[in-house]
């Protein structure tokens, strides 16, 4: 039996997530064109199918030797444990944001006539939310002729499952710590905050998966540069934008911090080609929706004022300590343990990767510092979700750092001695 390695899993996730997005993008175009069901179906299915074909045909990922059967049994176990935890934790009535914002938006997208209402002022609270997540759900609802809730719930759970499986498969490759994958699984299966957000169809988990894919593809690109991977990187950065308003800031931060990667190899055109479809669709969509972007509203006017207020930094710091300690205790303990292990290796401290990550995440926190809203209210209502968006990427960074700091041969030597 061929092993399900990290690369093949990553390739699967890239194929499925990309297909989901292409289907959504195609469907939004069909709604604009007011197409009937059959042409809309073709416009939705065809780009998704083309994407899956393109990924399976052209994407070659770097696969590390010696870890070929690292994940043959870990991943099914991870699936079972995560599903069991989800079954216990799932709420009978779901969550507020999921159906008030995302499912409502999906219902607007479930028919061309409903979609036309989005034109109107005050059509929907937060009509400015991007269409990446709800468009495909709206498409399935249109096909079914009903609005069953199992559709968005399945989508949400599968995004969560994919995120955790990718991290577990990456952790299974750290041969120095053979039970690391189990610890990573426990972080996401038994931390209520993570699980509740994964189960209740917030868009934060899909956004966190898109960001994770960007970092994973970036690592793969650095090992074995391939133009198609750059295209994928651009596409998934665009996907971040298409999933949530915050994703715009996040994608811009990543793009700027890692600019040396795309510019040094003089292949920025491939990146831009990948970025082009989701960004163009998003800009057209935003143009189409009369409501202003709640994240960007007042951004310019408050930018410098927010940046130079020391109280803002203190509020952010206090809130970070409270939310990380209170809601993410397991990831916090895991991070401390990892950092302790890594600090024993002096070359880790010289690594530029940590600086890059801190720059990305620090840049992202500008959405709080420069907001036109009351920063206390904004951090109270959204900081836990923002952390969830960043958590998988941060855990992935720690796992990869551990893998590089503790290579297999060193561990074997230590074991023998």
């Amino acid at each position: 039996m061929k092993a399900a390695t990290k690369s093949s899993l990553l390739k699967n996730v890239v194929a499925v997530c990309g297909a989901y997005l292409w289907a959504g993008m195609g469907y939004v175009v069909s709604l604009w064109l007011q197409l009937s069901l059959l042409p809309a179906l073709l416009l939705t299915i065809f780009p998704a199918f083309l994407w899956v074909y393109g990924v399976s045909r052209f994407l070659t990922l770097q696969d590390d030797a010696g870890t070929a059967n690292a994940t043959t049994w870990q991943l099914p176990i991870a699936c079972i444990i995560l599903t069991a935890a989800a079954c216990v934790m799932i709420k009978a009535h779901g969550e507020y944001d999921a159906w008030l914002h995302w499912n409502s938006l999906a219902r607007y997208m479930s028919s061309p006539s409903f979609f036309a209402y989005l034109h109107q002022e005050h059509s929907l609270w937060h009509a400015d939310y991007p269409p990446g997540l709800p468009a495909a759900i709206g498409f399935v609802w249109r096909l079914l002729g009903d609005f069953p809730e199992w559709v968005p719930r399945s989508v949400s759970f599968l995004f969560y499952l994919a995120t955790v499986l990718l991290l577990c498969s990456a952790a299974a490759k750290v041969s120095a710590f053979p039970r690391l994958w189990l610890v990573v699984l426990m972080l996401f299966a038994f931390n209520f905050e993570c699980l509740s957000q994964g189960l209740n169809q917030y868009a934060d988990v899909p956004l966190s998966l898109m960001l994770l894919l960007v970092f994973m593809l970036l690592d793969s690109y650095k090992c074995a540069p391939q133009n198609f991977q750059l295209f994928l990187l651009g596409f998934f950065m665009g996907a971040c934008m298409l999933f949530k308003n915050e994703g715009m800031m996040l994608a811009i931060c990543v793009m700027l911090v890692y600019a040396r990667v795309w510019l040094r190899r003089n292949r920025a055109l491939w990146l831009l080609a990948g970025l082009f479809p989701p960004v163009v669709l998003l800009l057209l969509y935003k143009q189409y929706i009369p409501q202003s972007n709640d994240l960007l509203e007042g951004f310019g006017s408050n930018f410098w004022h927010g940046l130079v207020r020391p109280e803002n930094y203190l509020i952010l710091l206090r809130r970070s300590v409270r939310v990380i300690g209170g809601r993410f205790p397991l990831p916090l303990l895991f991070s401390i343990w990892c950092l302790w292990q890594l600090c024993r290796k002096p070359h880790f401290l010289k690594s530029r990767k940590l600086c890059s990550l801190i720059l990305c995440f620090g840049g992202f926190s500008f959405i709080y510092l420069t907001t036109s809203y009351d920063i206390v209210w904004l951090t109270n209502t959204s900081f836990n979700r923002i952390l969830m968006q960043l958590l998988p990427s941060f855990i992935y960074f720690l796992i990869e750092a551990l893998r590089k700091a503790y290579p297999e041969n060193v561990h074997a030597n230590n074991h023998n001695s």
Binding site: I80, A86, V88, I90, H93, W99, E149, S154, L161, L199
Partner: protein
């Protein structure tokens, strides 16, 4: 093909288990939603899709949102009474139902021939001339 059948079957089983768990919890939950849903279902046939004008403000009680999740039709910003009976439903929060009904009547300049407000459930059914 990049996707493998055994993985797809496995994931489908995971999702199915999740929905079974959700269904069981949904069945077991004795909640005010059922009461609201039953009341709303009884008046639902009176109200056409376009006339369901919702005033869902931030902070509204959860059970109305639960109702809205199942029954709410994406509505127009401008309302149109049901052409057959002139009915309009204002769905709002319990504490705001009177104030929002009055505001609606003022801003819409509508002439009401019959109206019933349920302050317990938080909605007003209006029949316009």
């Amino acid at each position: 093909m990049v996707l493998r059948i055994k993985w797809l079957i496995g994931l489908a089983c995971c999702v199915l288990a999740l929905h079974v768990a959700h269904f069981l919890k949904w069945q077991a939950a004795a909640d005010p939603f059922l009461e609201v849903a039953a009341a709303m279902h009884s008046i639902r046939p009176l109200v056409s899709q376009d006339s369901l004008l919702t005033i869902l403000a931030q902070g509204v009680e959860e059970k109305y949102m639960l109702y809205a999740r199942y029954e709410l039709i994406p509505g127009k910003a401008s309302f149109e009474p049901n052409p057959q009976n002139g009915m309009v439903l204002l769905l709002t929060s319990r504490c705001q139902v009177a104030a929002l009904t009055e505001k609606f009547l003022q801003t819409s300049n509508a002439t009401v021939c019959w109206q019933e407000t349920d302050a317990t459930l938080g909605f007003t059914l209006l029949q316009l001339k």
